[in-house]
Subunit: 196 residues, 2 copies
């Protein structure tokens, strides 16, 4: 019957990806069915396959889109001559803003990546590990330069990244503070915990 509406310069596939991210976030990748996705998109399930190859393709497009954005930002920050603490703060602010503004995709990438199929799964895991090591290197540099208190850098990264994924709860919450306030509070607690 009705075609998928394409606004602006978004392709029909883009629409499907966007709706898929919302659905995967709400129900989880395994629990979300293609028939449900089709209903949200406003079309029969079989019609989706005119635009995508498989359910798995949807997941790995979402995951790698997000991963690429974070990698780019990390690279950009590494190339500046900010102090280690400033680099950490800027990376954290980027994570927080991404989570506030592109919640669905970032959340799915964070929580549902384990359902990626090979070889994407291995690739993603490697990228993830590498990203964390580079983040930890920034913190270790700060410790050497005595900007940051003497802690295990790996643990610090673990804490910060997971703390940010908790913005999920903020999204769900009824009486929420503003995104800007959330950002300032998170920075105060997280960066405050690093300072000497």
């Amino acid at each position: 019957m009705g075609r998928i509406k394409t606004n602006n310069n978004a392709s029909r596939k883009d629409i499907i990806l966007q709706k898929a991210a919302i659905l995967f976030k709400e129900k989880g990748f395994k629990a979300a069915s293609m028939r449900e996705l089709a209903e949200v998109v406003g079309v029969e399930a079989a019609s989706l396959y005119n635009h995508i190859k498989s359910k798995n393709e949807l997941l790995h497009e979402i995951c790698f889109n997000v991963a690429n954005k974070f990698n780019e930002k990390l690279e950009q920050i590494e190339s500046t001559d900010l102090s280690a603490l400033q680099k950490t703060e800027e990376l954290l602010r980027f994570h927080i803003n991404s989570m506030v503004q592109n919640f669905d995709e970032v959340f799915v990438s964070d929580r549902e990546w384990k359902y990626l199929s090979e070889p994407y799964l291995s690739n993603f895991q490697t990228q993830r590990r590498t990203y964390r090591k580079r983040f930890a290197a920034i913190i270790e540099d700060g410790i050497k330069k005595k900007e940051i208190k003497k802690i295990d850098a790996t643990t610090a990264v673990l804490i910060m990244l997971h703390a940010i994924s908790g913005i999920e709860s903020w999204h769900r919450s009824k009486q929420k503070i503003s995104g800007a306030e959330l950002e300032e509070n998170m920075i105060a607690i997280l960066v405050g915990g690093l300072k000497k």
Copy 2:
């Protein structure tokens, strides 16, 4: 053929629950099948139903077991006359230790509760909300008494609880620091971030 082996005073149902927690943690609740669980237990799928009512029952037993333990601890801490900062630290240490020692169940309770069926789902969500409010009340009390810096208490709770759920990564990691070291580092960063 072979029966489920019951050591000590663990019933066969206990064995199934324990294996289910491990499986749900690894594959996710929806992706884990009863046939897989049966294989891990060493029995045919149908045989599981001599001991349990349904797959859903497994999930809600796991989730409520964990929730009960945390509620008990919170109640106990509330009844002491420690300072707000000390209460926070003790609760955090309890969370960290639970995550280190009873990883499977705590992880499943944290990440897979959304697949609970009603009325357990609503019940669980309410308990969760209540728990966080009481935790936040401790922090707010600390802010009033000027032990803790002026931040949004709800955000602080969100950060701390999610940071702890990140111990998942620590479990997966190859070259890990000891559980005790992990605990001290997390406390240093998280409680350090609260102090004035």
